[in-house]
């Protein structure tokens, strides 16, 4: 009966209840949708980091990461043979890497030269897909280089131009070579684009003397869940080498992913906090309007717990009826925009790329957060109910009946 009374009381002032229910629905929609965008961006960042930048796992000589010297290399053949044994590995790219300078008639800049096998690089990070102009490295011509549009803009480079790459060889001697730009590429990570150029491994090996050696093995797995197993397997098989997971190589991406839940929670709590004041205000008005009625109920024998429960039920219902509407609206919005994507790039320009995010974001509804949000709504309703309920409890029947 308390439930029925609470439910019917809710509709005594229909417009007031609907306004609160609508604000709860809007709050839930906004909170959940923003969360979905945030999760979408986080997921994009994760996919870009793994699929296009660092792969799941990288293997280096233990001193290479610190010194970047060409002499700290690993055997190509043995690494190739080992990685082919692991069925959870989808693709891998065995690279020669060297830091140096690119010099043109317009200027020079410090860069990292990646000597890659074009087919392996394509399989591991989809490099050919980023070529916006010209050709990928799959050509027979020697000393071809792929530079980013960002670097090309900065150094006034065009396809067909020659650039001089100056590097250190395995004996720490300065060596240089002329490379002709075969194509321009453009990924979602502008800072990395500006620093990296790609050449064929054989061309770089000739220059720095690393034939049959590699500096970096980038490994893409069949699925994310295999990460720990393959990581442990590699540690066992390659005890002297530095093996790093994507979280170790790109800690900023790991931070984004690990902080998503925390930020979502804070965001939702702020929304619910704002909503709770509206709910408290409405319920307080409802209690004060019904002073005589509540006084009568207490006079005829309704105990304090039941009076409290009645107000709590009413507040819970007021809060809860809007929540499913908001969640459904959020689900529908995410379902739609999850297919079409949101072009944040058009709003934020290049700044997204500067932080390694894709221009088009596909929101994802995090279901575990929806459950968490629903529980938070219930808790908010419960907390919001306390003040009006205590107000009701403080009524003295003899005075309340007289109002």
């Amino acid at each position: 009966m308390l439930f029925i009374i609470a439910w019917r009381n809710l509709w005594r002032n229909r417009s007031r209840s609907l306004i609160i229910a609508t604000s709860v629905a809007l709050g839930m929609w906004a909170g959940t949708f923003i969360m979905a965008i945030y999760y979408g961006m986080g997921n994009d960042r994760l996919r870009i980091a793994i699929d296009n930048e660092v792969s799941h796992i990288q293997v280096h000589h233990p001193r290479f990461a610190d010194d970047q010297e060409a002499k700290y290399s690993m055997s190509l053949d043995s690494m190739d043979a080992l990685l082919r044994q692991q069925p959870d590995i989808k693709a891998f790219s065995l690279r020669s890497v060297s830091t140096g300078m690119v010099a043109t008639t317009s200027g020079s800049q410090g860069i990292q030269v990646n000597g890659v096998d074009p087919a392996a690089e394509q399989a591991t990070r989809g490099m050919a897909g980023f070529v916006t102009e010209g050709d990928y490295l799959d050509t027979d011509k020697r000393n071809r280089v792929l530079v980013s549009t960002k670097l090309a803009d900065k150094l006034n480079l065009e396809i067909g131009n020659k650039i001089i790459l100056t590097l250190l060889d395995t004996a720490s001697n300065i060596t240089s070579g002329a490379f002709r730009i075969c194509g321009l590429y453009h990924t979602s990570n502008a800072p990395l684009d500006e620093l990296n150029v790609f050449v064929r491994k054989a061309d770089l090996d000739r220059l720095i003397g690393t034939a049959g050696r590699i500096h970096e093995a980038a490994i893409l797995l069949q699925h994310d869940d295999a990460l720990e197993a393959v990581y442990n397997w590699l540690k066992e098989k390659l005890p002297g080498l530095r093996i790093e997971r994507w979280q170790d190589i790109s800690p900023e991406t790991a931070l984004v992913i690990s902080s998503m839940d925390t930020y979502s929670l804070i965001f939702i709590i702020i929304i619910l906090l704002a909503l709770s004041f509206g709910i408290i205000n409405t319920m307080l008005m409802a209690v004060l309007e019904r002073t005589r009625e509540i006084g009568m109920l207490m006079a005829v024998g309704m105990d304090r717990l039941r009076v409290f429960s009645m107000v709590v039920w009413e507040t819970m219902m007021l809060s809860i009826i809007g929540a499913p509407v908001g969640l459904f609206a959020a689900w529908a919005t995410v379902a739609w925009l999850g297919k079409t994507g949101i072009d944040l790039g058009s709003l934020m320009g290049e700044s997204l790329r500067d932080f390694g995010y894709a221009a088009i974001t596909y929101p994802i509804l995090p279901w575990h957060n929806v459950v968490q949000t629903t529980i938070l709504v219930l808790i908010t309703a419960l907390i919001a109910a306390v003040f009006p309920a205590v107000k009701a409890l403080r009524l003295k029947p003899v005075e309340a009946i007289r109002t």
Binding site: I4, I5, R8, R12, E293, A299, V300, M302, R304, V398
Partner: protein, 233 residues
């Protein structure tokens, strides 16, 4: 034991530390089972205050009230609420039905608070609504009923808990003469046939004429008390 209410030396003083107002002053009241008693007096004479004190809604400044042999002035608030639920029926001047419940639900609600079984509740609702002549209004909400009908539902609600007595504060004050007469007929019949004890405050001469005992309050004191006449039951 036939004594339902035994009030000794009841006083109620408002603002005792500033300007004391003696709403009820040293009242002794003894009510037997089956009485049909009117509490009369001019406005401000303390009728409602005395009823509230007897009903356990207000605490006296002094005195002891025994209801069915139990001292209600020493009860803890929650015990008192429970005691009121099971022993005292209230009829208010402004009806005070729950507007969102139907007549049936208003009556049944009290029994739900008592945790009575559904079957028993349904049967008692039927009996009481029939007794107050509203069997055909079971599913009407208060707003769909006239003032007189609402007050009859309030009487049924007051009786739903099978109380020791019913306190009615000016029950006919908001009713036209026909509705007032009908209500009094019902209350009298319930008193006569079922032995329910009624104590009601009133200004209404028609009500006073039908009471078997009339207690007159003036300035918080009992100025006159007609001889108690037990019910014919």
């Amino acid at each position: 034991m036939n004594t339902v209410i035994d009030a000794h030396n009841i006083s109620k003083v408002y603002n005792p530390k500033t300007i004391p107002v003696h709403a009820v002053n040293n009242v002794h009241l003894h009510l037997e089972r089956g009485e049909f008693t009117a509490l009369v007096g001019p406005s401000g004479s303390g009728k409602t205050t005395l009823l509230n004190i007897i009903g356990g809604l207000d605490a006296p400044t002094e005195g002891v009230i025994m209801v069915n042999g139990v001292d209600i002035t020493r009860m803890r608030p929650n015990d008192l609420i429970n005691f009121r639920l099971n022993n005292i029926g209230f009829v208010f001047q402004a009806f005070n039905l729950i507007p969102v419940l139907t007549a049936r639900e208003n009556v049944e609600f009290i029994m739900l608070l008592q945790k009575r079984h559904k079957k028993e509740r349904e049967q008692r609702v039927r009996e009481l609504m029939e007794a107050v002549g509203l069997s055909d209004k079971l599913d009407s909400r208060p707003a769909q009923l006239s003032g007189g009908q609402q007050q009859r539902v309030a009487v049924a609600r007051a009786l739903a808990s099978k109380p020791q007595f019913v306190l009615a504060d000016e029950p006919t004050a908001n009713l036209d003469s026909h509705s007032a007469s009908t209500l009094l007929d019902i209350m009298e019949r319930l008193n006569r046939e079922e032995g329910i004890t009624f104590l009601f405050s009133t200004h209404d001469q028609r009500v006073i004429e039908r009471a078997r005992r009339v207690i007159t309050l003036v300035d918080g004191r009992i100025a006159e008390d007609s001889a108690p006449t037990p019910t014919a039951h």
